[in-house]
Each structure stands twice: as C-alpha cells, then as structure tokens.
Symmetry: D2
Subunit: 283 residues, 4 copies
C-alpha cells in the first residue's frame, strides 16, 4: 500500500519502519524534520509537508500525542487527502474525537498496546474498529505493526474505549500494588518479597515489570509520563460519563494522579502515582 | 516428621496427601470423621480426637475456615501438644489472631495461595513467617505442599499480612474487570473481545481465568464464596488499620461486597461482586 | 443603572423584577418572547433581540442554563455592547469559561445561591469576583438581587469556583443522608426519626428541607434536575483538576449521579441520587 | 428516682448535676475518686465502689469512653444490681455490644448528641431505644439531661445506630469542608470567605463552628480526639456491615482518619482529618 505516516516519536518511528519492512511505500512526516530524515535510510520518503506526505496515499496513519495534536494534523491534511483514502488513528484519543473524525470522512481507530520494544518487534496489540470494508483495507497495516489485532466493533470510537479501559486496568494494578506495598512496608515486610509471591501467583510480565519499578521506586526516566496517564484516565472517565457507567476505581486513581501532580510528579513515570498511597500511610 | 493435620476440606486433604507422599507420618483429624477416613487409604492415621492426632507429633498443621475455627482447634489441642511441638497455621486468618497464637506458644503462620488443583499437585505458593529456628524445622512441610516458599519475616503475623494483600490484589483485579466490562458493554463492545486484548497484554492465567468467569457471569458453583471474600477483605482492612495504612481500593471493594451480600449473593463465587458495577451502570 | 437582562427563567425573571423595583432601567430578552413580555407589566422593556436589549446599557446581566448558552448569548451581543459596558454572568458556569470571558472584555462573575423563592424576595446569596473597579460599578445590581454579597477575589473565575464548591457541599450532604438513611432503614429505624435528631443537632433549613425530601422520596417535580447536578459536580471536578486538588467525595458523588442517570433519573430532582445508596443496600 | 451514675468525665458530671437539680437521688462513681467528690457538693452520694453506687437504685446510668469501658463497668455491677433495676447506657458504643447488653438484662441505650456546654445546660439531644415499658420508666432521666428525646425503636442497638449515623454526618461535613477549602485555597480564595457564603446558605451553628475551626486550622486543644472519631466511624462501618448497607463516604473518611493517625494526629481534634485533603492537594 501507499501510506502516509504522521508522528515519528519512538512508537511511531518503530511502526513506520515495520511498514517499510513489510514492503509498503511510506511517506513520513513529523513537525521536527530530523525524525523523518532518520527514516529515509530505511526507505521512507521524508515529506516536507502534510500535504506532500498524503499525496496519492491509500491511507494516512497518525500516531501523535493527544486529541489536540490529532485534530491539528487532521485539519492539516483534510484538503490534501485523495478520494477514497482512509485515516487510521493509532493515537490514544477520546471517544468523542473518534466520533467527530468518523463523521468527517473515511476513518478507522486502531490504537495499540505495547511498549516501544514491542513496537520495534512488530508485536503490538492492535485494537481496531470501524466499518468492515475499511478494516479489510487496513488489514495489511495491522499485520505489519502488530502481533495480534482485535476488532472491537463497527464504530471507530469503540476501539478507543477498549484502549482506555486497557490503560485503566494497568493503572488499577499500579494503585493496588501501592496500597499493598504501603501496608506491608508498615508491617515490616519487604515489598520485593511480596512481589515474588505475586509473580508466583499472577505469572504476568506486566505485574513483574511494574511491580519491580514500584518496589524500587524507580520513577525516572519516565516510560510513560504521569501527566499522560492522567490524560488517559480522564478520557476513560469521559467515556464512562458518555455511557453512564460509573467507574469508582478510575475516579480514585484520578484523585491520586491529581495529588501526584500537586506533588510535582507530572514528568515522572505514571507508576509514581503509588507515592500517594505511601505518603498517606506516613511513609 | 511426625505430623498432625487438622481440617480436611478440599485444600487440607490435598495438602495432607502430599505430606504422606513425601514420607511424613501424618495423623489427621476433622470434625466430620468421614474425611479423615478417606485419607487413611493414603496411609494417614485417622485420629478420633484432636488430642489423639497430636500425640507425639513434631508439628500440628491447621487448615480451617476462619479465625473462630482456628481458635477452637487451638484451644482443643493446647493441653495435648508435646513439648517442643510447633503449631503451623495454613488458614487465612487475621493478623491479630496470629499475634495471639504466637504469644501462646511455638507458632508459625504459613498461609498458602492456590486453588485446589494446585494443592493436589503440591504446587501451592507458601508464604511463611516466624522465628528462623521454627521455620527451619518446618521446611520439609513447606517443601511437600508447595512449589515455592517465601519467608515474610520473623513475626508470624507478617505472613498473614502478605496473604491478605495477595487476596486483595485478586479482588482489585475483579473490580477493575467489572468497571471496564460495564463501560464496554454499554459501549456495545463484547467483554470477551476486551478479555482477548487483556490476555495479549497481561499474559496472566489469573486474568484469563477470572476474566472469563466474569465475562460469562458464571458465578456458580462458587470456587470461593463471596462471604469468605468479604471476610478476607475485612481482615485486610483490619490489618491496614493496625498499621495505619489506608487502602482506599480495599474500602471500595468492601462496599461492593456488602452491596452484593444485600443482593443475596453471599454463597455465589466472590467474582460476582462484579455484578454491582454492572447494576450501577444500569445493566 | 441602564441594564440588559438576558435569560428569564424562574430565577432570572425574579432577579429582573427586583432590579426594576430598585429603580433600574431594565431591557429584558429571552429566546422565547413570552417571558420578556410578562416582565413588561413590571416596567421592563421587552427587547426583540440581544442587540436591542444591550443598546446603551451600562451592564448586561446573563442568567442562562450552562456554558454553551452563555457562550451563545455572549457571542450574540459581543458587537452590540456599548463602550465601557460590563458583562455580569450570574449563571453557574465553568471556571474555564469565566477565564475566557474575562479575557474577552469587561467581565464579572456573580453566581448566586438560593432557590426561586429567595430570588423573588431579593435575598439571594451573591458571590462576585472581578476587578475591584468593575465590582464597585456593579454593586447596585448585587444590592437589588441579594441579601448578602461576598467578594471572592479579583479574578472572575474565583467566584465560579466558590459557587461550584457550594453546590458540592449540598450534594455531599445529600449523599451523606442517603448512606445514613440506608443503614437506618435496614436497622428498622424510620429516617424521619433520624431527621428529627439531625435537625435538633444541625439546626439548618437546608438539612431540614432536603432531609425531608429524601426521607419522603419525593423527587418530582424536580426543583433542580439531576442532569444539572451532574453538570455542576463535573464542573467542580474540572476546577479541581485545573487546581490539582483532589476531591474524592465529589468523585464518589459523580459516580452515583452517573448511576442515577443509568437508572433513568436525569429529569428527577438531584436529591434522587440518594436512590443509589438505597439500591446498593438492597432497598 | 434513685439513680447510680458511672463515668464522671466532663459530659457525665454535667449530666449527673442536672439529674440532681431535677430532684433525683444520685449516687456517683468514677475510677478516679476526685471527680465523684466534686459532685458531692451538689448533693450526690460519692460511692466508694460500683456495688455501693448501685445499692437500691432504680437505674444505673453509664457514660464512659468506649465498648471496653462499658463492658468492664457492666461486669462490675452485674451482681450488685437490685431486682428490676435498668441499665441505661449513654456512651457511644457498638451496636453489637448494645445487643449483648440487652440480652444480659433490663437495658436501654440512650446515647446523646451535644457538646459539654449543652450537657451543662441540660440541652442534650437524647436518642433512646428499648422496650416501651423501660423507656417510660427512664423518661424522667431523659427529661433532666436533654432538651429533646427521640425514640429510635424497641431494640436498644437502634439508638446506637442513630448516634453513629449522626457522628458520621458531622465527619462527612468535615471532609466536605476539607475538599472545598483545598480547592479554593489553590484557587487563591480565602476559606473564610467561602465559610461566610456557606453560613448564609446553611445557617447551621455546626457548620459555622466546625467551618471556622477548619479554616483556622485550630486543632488543639482537642474537643473530640481524632482517635475517638476513628473509633466511631469504625463502629458505624461495623453497623453498616451487620446491616449489609454500604457507606462509601464513611469508608473514605475512615481512610483519611487512618492517614491522619499515620501523620501523628491521633490526639488532635478530629476536625484535623481535613489536613489529609489539604496535603493531597499539595498544601
């Protein structure tokens, strides 16, 4: 396929590279031009503008920071998109924006789970939603970037709801670790000992990884900044409000993330939300 | 070792059988005598009383329902225990009771994680705590019943705190599934689809198993009755109070478990606490 | 003063009438013209358009439903406002909108507490904020509509924060009644008996009034619709997010209001949020 | 009536004095004898033992610290109580203890609301429960100590449930003030300004009094120690558990009270629980 890829952070660059490896023709664009040029060595066309990147493409893929960035980019290429081209948004955005984008043209939401290492290995978990015909057309894209693709429904925003719920599950695990560790530290038990038992019980690499980060209180450098975690939990709560589905643990996490922001932790890893439970236990 | 084993429910019977397999001499006792006799075929001595079971034993192991049952049993054998014999409690009990038992004599807490299948396979996760000398003496017991043994500290109640925190981690996962599923069902997304993505992400058998039970709303027969789950969360909150360590997710789970009791769900599986989030979403 | 008054619901009409009584010259405008004409009998000029209402005015006062309505009205009169005229918003709006309006021109936030009866009696509690010079100019307006005026600060949005916190205090009282009543009803105690004790203790007309509404479960007709209560709690949580100040009770109330919406209670009085605690207790 | 009064703290002494003023014959007893002798000047008989205080009495009234103290006192006079004498407990105790006391003999629960000043003025709010015949007999006692007496039901523990819910309502108000003040302080608004508006709205002396204490952060000397507040909220949650009625705000308050204990605030006034919301907002 002839593709445009917009947003070349660590995740986006890795995804674009896997698309090139899979034989697609990829024009790339990033606000800071250096990142686009770095991909030229892998065979990408480093476009000088959004319009240039989208010329003659079958699909434009976006992987940018947040709602505002997606809206700016979408506004930027809206006139330049060829007849029949589809916009595939991989970003973690609000369900409300996904609905607006779907109303504006051919659009698919395909947010991804996974860390940069998984992106580089082409092993992201892709959750896609949109009209079946569009999803079929985008299948080669999903196959190139992901190990598994799950179809959430025919309305693009449904995929975003799934992504937001997935991030909520991770945040909930973090807060649970925080509360258990706080109790155990006050009981004189080493959190690492508890983590060993939890690993024997849950046998999950996500638990093992985050459980260790929190036990070690190793919140820098940030794998995922706390302020972005707050944004995502907020979006989950917005989706919950649209659907009239209360999420009390999400509310509680939001309150702890806000407390963490008040403590100046915005740029630390989002797992540092666990400091709030520790503080409240007098640790 | 010469052992007495008290409490022959599904878990206790499996543990006693593994002790016999490992070559220990085991006298067993249960209030309802049939269960003790069933183990005689495996080489156990079916004792007619607590005192008889404990005669000449090096250690008495208890695996009964709750604090009250442990207290009754411990009162029952207190006079009959030989000099130097140690009481090993595998039950999930309060940290307060563990402290009282430790004050009363040679005592080790060794609660276990795992379902009956793991008990039968001798693959329980054992978390033990107590004076090092006593733990050393009990090591052959732990090796016979468990795949891994983790030492939580020198005070027995520390092992109980770890066990209660482990159950809290599972309950927290259940409530998180409940909230995510409720939102997604109202968004028109099949919980099973979400579970597939979660399995790809967390890769944990505990998530896979409980996530499916909750998605299927298959709460009978109860693997672990909701009223027992409420008891355990209550004990976790009691421990949290003793240590002055707030656990807001545990508080929230307690409230949802109480709501479930008010709905008549006491005898259903504790994963049915997830019905409360569903109800509150109007499902 | 020569005033324009926009938004003639029950509150707005009562406020406009008190301004007329105080001797001000008042041009009134409402989307549905009948309400403006009803005030003509009291001496108001029923304007046919926003522009006509604002002609030569010293201040334009707005009392409309929500952020969107204020934005529409402000956009409608923005070109027509005379040099030096000030916009006084009495509506319960977001702190974010108050900041945008303040950036756009001479602006004062002056939200009010009180029910329609208080508005008719000129006994509203006015909370105003803005530059001192503008507040001085608006003082005759506050005196005509309110029994007390409190100055929250020099930035208009501060008054909105106060108003949102006031509504939060009422919502918190409602949820507290809900939880106490639920426990007591299950304990076989009549909520009205408890309310008598509470009235003897708190001696507050707000407790007496809402406590009776909730004990009687008399949620229709709605004095203040639950969907508007949800909007206000949401705005309080938005302000809390801007200021990085967690409000866990507000989060909990939002979740119960959402559950009430899921039960179809949007148009009932917001005190019907208390049904959620009752439902969760199995009542 | 011929009465025994046990427990002569500031509240108990004031109540005993009002019983004397009403013409009752009162024998008083306190562990530290000085307090009993101080009442002798008002006409009380300072008894040297529980048994002596209860000799020939129609009723023994107890006003002591907590469950344990009531149990000790009740054990102390159990043999000495004349046939037909009734035990009236004014203390704030658990519903579970009230049920045990009711099972043990003629018993009425009559907890009181009000500060020492109200006790001295004979203006306490009395909430009584028990068999109608016993309540009738105790009516002269209630009239002497209280301004109002409310009958909660025929089972004594129902009065304790009402008392615990009343204290919960106050704690909930405190936490609500805490959250609103925290937001407003971060918004640059003086809490005292907000309190003025709240006083104009709620017109409650309880709000005025506690709102000022919290705004002034004047937590010493303690009118009611935080550790006792924690005890009461815990008892409310225990009652909620017995009745299967979730109380999420009570759970949240318990968590904040625990955090306050972890900060060393046990002996401060319980209104200092508001520091936790302030801390979490970074104040």
């Amino acid at each position: 396929m002839k593709l445009a890829f917009i947003g070349l952070g660590r995740m986006g660059s890795a995804m674009a590279r896997n698309l090139l490896r899979a034989g697609h023709e990829v024009a790339v664009y990033n606000r800071t031009r250096g990142k686009a040029e770095a991909l030229a060595a892998d065979g990408a066309h480093a476009a000088g503008s959004l319009a240039e990147a989208c010329r003659d493409c079958h699909a434009v893929l976006t992987m940018v920071a947040d709602d505002r960035a997606v809206e700016e980019v979408a506004a930027g290429f809206s006139g330049a998109l060829p007849e029949g081209a589809v916009h595939v948004s991989h970003s973690t955005i609000s369900t409300a924006l996904a609905r607006r984008l779907a109303a504006a043209g051919a659009y698919v939401s395909a947010p991804v789970f996974g860390r940069p290492e998984a992106a580089e290995a082409g092993k992201l978990v892709v959750v896609a939603a949109g009209p079946a015909e569009l999803l079929d057309r985008c299948r080669p894209v999903f196959d190139a970037i992901g190990g598994d693709t799950f179809i959430a429904g025919t309305e693009p925003w449904q995929a975003n709801a799934v992504k937001l719920c997935g991030n909520f599950m991770i945040a909930s695990m973090l807060e649970s670790f925080a509360e258990a560790y706080a109790l155990l530290r006050k009981a004189g038990v080493d959190p690492h000992l508890f983590l060993q038992a939890i690993n024997a019980l849950f046998a999950s690499p996500v638990y093992a990884n985050y459980g260790r980060i929190v036990a070690d209180e190793r919140f820098e450098p940030a794998g995922f900044a706390l302020k972005l975690g707050l944004k995502d939990i907020r979006l989950a709560l917005d989706a919950a409000q649209e659907c009239a589905a209360p999420m009390p643990i999400a509310s509680l996490i939001r309150d702890h993330l806000l407390a963490a922001v008040a403590q100046g932790q915005s740029e630390l890893d989002w797992s540092s939300l666990t400091r709030i439970a520790a503080r409240n236990a007098g640790l």
